[in-house]
Symmetry: C2
Subunit: 365 residues, 2 copies
């Protein structure tokens, strides 16, 4: 393999595929990036859960392939001058990297042992703007469970039904649901994407209007961004019937400014250190006002916030973190919060429409 | 104690005195900030090595004092709205912090047990611009030794002689010397300031032309910044005779672009991981050119750089980190480097003048 490629293009490709390179492996080849030169340069990272493939423009002088340690390659290319870079594979898998008056020779690994990415049929894909998918991942991923005892909840449900895409995360104490209308008629489907995969794809995609296409099989998902694709396994099993969890009725409902409420919860939780279950914040709703109080060994906090209320007065206690994480990702200026009772779930919704639903269970005292 | 103070002023004071608050102590009072209200609010942090005192404008309603946990106070004030903050000490050292509709009550500690800062006579002070002192600390501190076996070298020598202030750090393998001319006639002195103190003072001072004044005694130093002072102990003992270490003669001398040389060293050291002594970089100087090579188990790097040379051809090896750390803090576009021999020290100087001297010992092979 011998090729010339701009430092900029090479660096961009490395930065993307590095996200799928394993950092905790005893197999040196999995710490590497597979470089394959044909008409362009194809770069691949694969940690056996997630694989990323990226095409980069290059002037290929001799076709071939090699695996180079991802960290070493990234460190070297990052520090090269902004100029053309020559990559030349010599005997014994030694690789020369040359750029202006800099010359490196580092050891590569034969590409034969590099695990191939699974191939998926590119049909019946869901097209969605990159900015939108990035946003909806951010708005739901924090409620993904980290408890390996219920593996299915360590992913998010992607449900495509009647032209609507719903994304749901549930960790047993709360639920995050985000729904978007899609313009494309594709087959209905239900898949569960690992939280790690969603984290990595949201780092790769840019907040731009350009679309990416999502293809799925029973056990694989492929995100197609044109020059780059990412492939991941899916979680197997039945996801919870989330619609059954969301209550239809309420006894108390408030409309409140999102940022103000967030600031109150953040301050009220300052006197709570580690043992959050033992020290919840208490909400006291009456007379178009909410008093938020917390009381720990360190001290007390008390916050007052004006709001519009409808229904009964209510006293209820929560883990403030669950509210804080939801309120931080809501872009709407104001939200509506419905309470069923002081022991039942509470629901955060937009004032109009059904773009999102956050459910939080209270702490019973 | 009862006072009203703007959130902004309070936060600024906390951020400064927090730098002297101990984080590794079993005495809760040393994790606190002493607040004393008289005509203004005085805040003090003291970890028994460094003490910082800061005055903040406040509307004092009732004089008094209290100690509050530094982290807790900082976390609370940071999240308050930009408005007036009321601090009110109640019975049992409980402290109310109130700002708009937020109210905190946290436990304070009686101020009697807080260690007082040592008092120094403010006379015969050295006045120096804050930007300049910040720069010269940055330009010498990296060569301070971390080896506790020679405690005197864990500080920097500040030598004031004949209107010149010289700052010297030596760690046994290299030396950093920075000299500035001062306009004020004060008494000559020789003090050794702990590296930790220099680190903290350089975080507090701003890169502005405004002057600070340095007062010293045999075993204490005081930095006076007007509204804030910082006091620290000094290191005791005789510092090395640094002038005796710097060679006067050379066999080879080069003039070279600072940034280009830095980039070459940075790239050449990429193939060197941990064991730097085993894998030095080799410099090969001849024909107005320097070839820098490194050769490790990971691979080889080779860099070429054009320069002006004078004297003999030379082959010499160095720990590249010592060059990199010096070249990074040199602001001059080009430097002059003199070599005595391939086993003697090498000296980096400005092309003109004597504002700095960096000495690096080679690695003998």
């Amino acid at each position: 393999m011998k090729l010339i490629c701009s430092k900029e293009n090479l660096m961009e490709g490395i930065n993307i595929v590095q996200k799928a390179v394993s950092t905790k492996t005893t197999l040196p080849i999995l710490e590497g990036i597979l470089l394959e030169a044909d008409d362009r340069l194809k770069m691949t990272g694969n940690d056996l859960e997630i694989g990323i493939e990226c095409y980069v423009d290059a002037d290929v002088k001799r076709k071939g392939s090699i695996v180079l340690n991802s960290k070493m390659l990234g460190d070297i290319v990052r520090r090269l001058p902004d100029a053309e870079v020559l990559l030349d594979v010599k005997e014994n898998n030694s690789v020369v990297i040359e750029c202006e008056s800099s010359l490196f020779e580092i050891r590569g690994i034969a590409s034969e042992g590099f695990p191939a990415l699974p191939s998926l049929e590119k049909e019946d894909g869901i097209k969605i703007s990159q900015k939108l998918i990035k946003d909806i991942i951010k708005q739901t991923i924090f409620a993904v469970s980290v408890d390996e005892n219920r593996p299915i909840l360590t992913g998010s449900l992607f449900e495509y039904k009647n032209g609507h895409l719903s994304i749901v995360s549930i960790d047993g104490y709360r639920l995050a649901l985000r729904t978007v209308a899609s313009e494309f008629a594709v087959q209905d489907r239900n898949i569960v994407i690992p939280g790690k995969t969603l984290n990595e794809i949201s780092k790769i995609i840019q907040p731009v209007d350009e679309e990416l296409t999502i293809y799925t099989t029973n056990n694989q998902i492929l995100f197609d961004m044109g020059n780059c694709i990412m492939v991941s396994r899916l979680l197997e099993g039945e996801y919870l019937n989330y619609m059954g969890i969301i209550p239809k009725e309420h006894e108390t409902k408030i409309n409140v400014n999102t940022k103000e409420l967030l600031a109150c919860f953040e301050r009220a939780s300052l006197v709570i250190t580690n043992d959050e279950r033992r020290y919840p914040v208490k909400l006291d709703i009456k007379d178009d006002m909410m008093i938020i109080t917390s009381n720990t060994e360190i001290g007390n906090a008390r916050e007052e916030i004006r709001l519009e209320m409808d229904g009964k007065e209510l006293e209820i206690s929560f883990n403030p973190r669950y509210f804080i994480e939801a309120l931080r990702v809501i872009e709407n200026e104001a939200v509506s919060i419905s309470f069923t009772s002081n022991i039942g779930p509470c629901i955060i919704r937009p004032l109009q429409g059904d773009a999102f639903v956050y459910l939080v269970l209270p702490i019973r005292k």
